[in-house]
Symmetry: C2
Subunit: 378 residues, 2 copies
C-alpha cells in the first residue's frame, strides 16, 4: 500500500455479526479438509459470528449418538457460535423429529436429488414421512434442484410445512419460488456467491471441469441473470462453504463444493460498491432474514467492523480454511473485515483470530454445556 492510502479517511462501518446458515465443516470424518477450529476461524475472518453447520459429516448427524459426537467436537473446537442441522434418511423421521423437540436445532436437511450418496432421498414417500413428523415451527432445508424444487414445494404445501430451498441456482428454480411465494406458500430460499458471481463461462479460468465441480453446478449467464433480476425473491445469502483440497478436486472424481466463508462478504460488498445491491439488501439476507426464518436467538454485544473502501485481489488461497484454494482467485473486490466482536470479546482483528477453540457456543443452548448434557441424557 502506498503512503497516500494510509492518510485517506477509510469508510469503516459497523454491521451486526453475520449469519451463514450453510456451512460444511468436515469434522468428524475429513478433518484434513476442515475441522471445527479452522472452519469457525474462517467464519470469523469472513465476518460471520454464527454459522449453521451441515450434517453430512462421517458419520452424518442422523441419530442421537452422532449428534452427541458432533456436539462434543463443536463444544471443544468452535471459535464462533453455531447451530446444527440434522440429516434426514428414509428411516429416521421419528428419530429426528423427537431429537428436534429435545434439542432445538437449526433445521432438518433433506437431500432430494438422486445424485448424492448415503443421504439421498429421491423417493417422495420418504419425504412424506418427514413432512408428517417434523415440528411445524422449524423450516426444513432441502437440496432440491430443477423440478425437485417444485416437487418439494408441492409436498410441503400439502403438509403445511415451511420449507427452505438451499442454494437456488437456476432461472426455473427462482421463478417457481417466486410464484409459490406470490400464492402465499411457506417457502424461503438462499443463493450462494458462486452462483451470483461465477458461471459456466468461468470454468476454464477456475481450473477446468474437475476443479469447478459444485452442486448445483455453475450455471449459464441466463440463469445467473435470473437470480439478480429476482433479488427480492432471495431471502438469504449463504456460502455453502464446502472445503476440499486441490489434490482432491483435481482428481478424476472431483468432490463437489467450493470454500466460501472468507470470500462471501467481500464479494457481496463489492456488489454494493457497484450499486448492484444496497447495504440493507445485504444485512437483510445475511442477518435479519436468517434470524427470522429460523427463529435464531440474539447474539448480544456482537458486531463486526468492515472497511468498505479497501480494494484487494482474492489470492490463490484464503488464510483460514484448510481448503487452501478458492474459485474466486484473481477477482478484485472491495471491503475487508477489520474487527469482529462476539459477546463483548474482540475475537478477530486485522487478519488475526484472537479467540481460543471452545469459545463458540451452540446458539440454541443458553447454559454453556447444555448441549452435551442433554445429549448424554438421551
Amino acid at each position: 500500500k502506498t503512503h497516500i492510502d494510509c492518510l485517506t479517511a477509510r469508510k469503516i462501518i459497523r454491521l451486526p455479526g453475520l449469519i451463514d446458515i450453510h456451512v460444511h465443516l468436515r469434522e468428524p470424518g475429513d478433518s484434513h479438509k476442515e475441522d471445527w477450529q479452522s472452519g469457525t476461524g474462517a467464519a470469523l475472518a469472513g465476518g460471520f459470528t454464527l454459522i449453521g453447520v451441515m450434517p453430512n459429516t462421517k458419520p452424518p448427524i442422523t441419530n442421537s449418538d452422532n449428534y452427541g459426537l458432533v456436539s462434543k467436537l463443536a463444544t471443544a473446537g468452535a471459535k464462533c457460535d453455531y447451530a446444527l442441522y440434522l440429516a434426514a434418511t428414509a428411516d429416521n423421521s421419528k428419530i429426528v423429529s423427537k431429537m428436534a423437540q429435545n434439542n432445538r436445532v437449526l433445521s432438518l436437511k433433506m437431500y432430494l436429488n438422486n445424485t448424492f450418496g448415503d443421504l439421498c432421498l429421491p423417493d417422495m414417500t420418504d419425504w412424506m414421512k418427514h413432512l408428517q413428523n417434523w415440528p411445524k415451527n422449524i423450516p426444513i432445508c432441502v437440496h432440491a434442484e430443477r423440478q425437485t424444487t417444485a416437487a418439494i414445494i408441492s409436498l410441503a404445501h400439502l403438509y403445511d410445512q415451511p420449507i427452505h430451498i438451499c442454494h437456488v441456482a437456476r432461472e426455473e428454480e427462482i421463478l417457481v419460488i417466486k410464484a409459490a411465494k406470490e400464492k402465499g406458500m411457506k417457502v424461503t430460499c438462499e443463493v450462494s456467491p458462486h452462483h451470483l458471481f461465477l458461471s459456466e463461462e468461468n470454468i476454464e479460468s477456475i481450473g477446468g471441469l474437475q476443479r469447478s465441480t459444485v452442486k448445483p453446478s455453475l450455471v449459464s449467464l441466463k440463469d445467473q441473470k435470473a437470480l439478480w433480476d429476482n433479488m427480492d425473491v432471495i431471502d438469504v445469502f449463504a456460502s455453502d462453504h464446502a472445503p476440499h483440497l486441490v489434490s482432491e478436486k483435481d482428481g478424476s472424481d472431483s468432490p463437489p463444493g467450493f470454500p466460501g466463508l472468507e470470500t462471501t462478504l467481500p464479494l457481496l460488498l463489492t456488489a454494493v460498491k457497484e450499486n448492484r445491491l444496497t447495504i440493507n439488501d445485504l444485512i437483510k439476507r445475511m442477518y435479519l432474514n436468517p434470524k427470522r426464518i429460523f427463529n435464531i436467538p440474539d447474539q448480544k454485544n456482537t458486531y463486526i467492523e468492515v472497511d468498505l473502501d479497501e480494494e484487494w485481489v482474492i489470492p490463490e488461497a484464503m488464510p483460514f480454511s484448510k481448503a487452501r484454494w478458492t474459485p474466486f482467485n484473481g477477482k478484485k473486490v472491495f471491503g475487508r473485515v477489520r474487527r469482529v466482536v462476539l459477546r463483548n470479546e474482540v475475537v478477530f482483528v486485522d487478519g488475526r483470530v484472537l479467540v481460543s477453540a471452545g469459545f463458540g457456543r451452540n446458539i440454541f443452548h443458553t447454559e454453556l454445556s447444555s448441549a452435551q448434557t442433554s445429549t448424554e441424557n438421551t
Copy 2:
C-alpha cells in the same frame, strides 16, 4: 369350446361405449406399426367407441399445419370416434392455446421427464408458458414420473390450471396425487393395465428387458399394490396403447410401449370377476370420469355388449393392431366384447369390424367435416 358351453346361458351385459383417452396411433410417420384404420378397428374390438389420440406422430401435432394433416388422415381412416391431443414444445404455447380456442381438442400433452426426444420439456420455465396460456377449462395431460408428478401439480396449482397425470405407476406418485386431491387441488389421473396387471416380476416371461421396455417402466409389486390400495384415487383407466413391432422391440434400442386396446377391457373385466373391482368402478373410469374430466360430448345411441363369462387365454397377438404381439400373452381372462353399436350402427360383432374407414368422427366437431374445414381456414 365344448357343446356344454354352447347350451349355457351366457351373462351378456350392455355398457356405454367406452372411452380410452390415451392411444398412440402411428400415422403419420410409422404406419407400419399402426394406422388410423388398424388402430380404430382395434379400439372397436376392445369395446372403445371413442379414443383420445396422442400427438407424438411424425410430424407431431405442434402447429396448425400438422393438425390439418392429421385431421385429414383421421377423417379418412377412423372407424371409431376420436378426439385429438396437441403437443407442447418450448416455443408453441401461444400457437397451441390459440388452436385449442379455434378447434376444441381433448387436451394438451406435455412430456415433462427428460427421457423423451423432441417433445421433452424438462425446464419448468417452459411449463410456465403453457400454464399461462392454455385455456383453463381444458385439463393439460402430462407424462410426469416420480418427482415430476409433484412438480407439475405444484406449478399447475400456482396457475390454477387443472392437470391430468397420465399412466400413474408408482406408490410415490399415487400418494402425492391422493394428498393433492385431499387438499382440493385440481388434479386427476389415469392408470394403465400394464401397471395394474404386470410388474418387474413379469419381465422374463414377457420376453426380457427389451421387450418389456415401457414408460413408466414396469414397477415393483409394492408400487403395484399401492395402485390397487388407492383405487379411489384413480379417475381413469387408459390403455396407453403404444404399438411397436416385435422386431423393433427386440432390437438393441427398444422403443418404449405396449399395444393395449384389445386387452384392456378383458383384463379389467377379469378383475371384476375376481372381485378386485366392481363393474361400476369400471364404468366410472372408462366412461363417466373421462367424459366429465374432459367435457366430452355424448355419443348418442352408442353402447357395447359384453359376455362376462367367456373365459379365454390372451394369444400371442391380438387380431386388429398391427403390433402383432402383446405383453399379456398367456393370461387367462374373462369377458369378451360381442357387439359394438356406434351412433345406431352395428360396427363390431363377434370378432368382425363391420364399418368402413371414415365412419369415425371427431367428437368435438358436430358437423361431419368441420375439423377439416376449420383447419383449412386457419
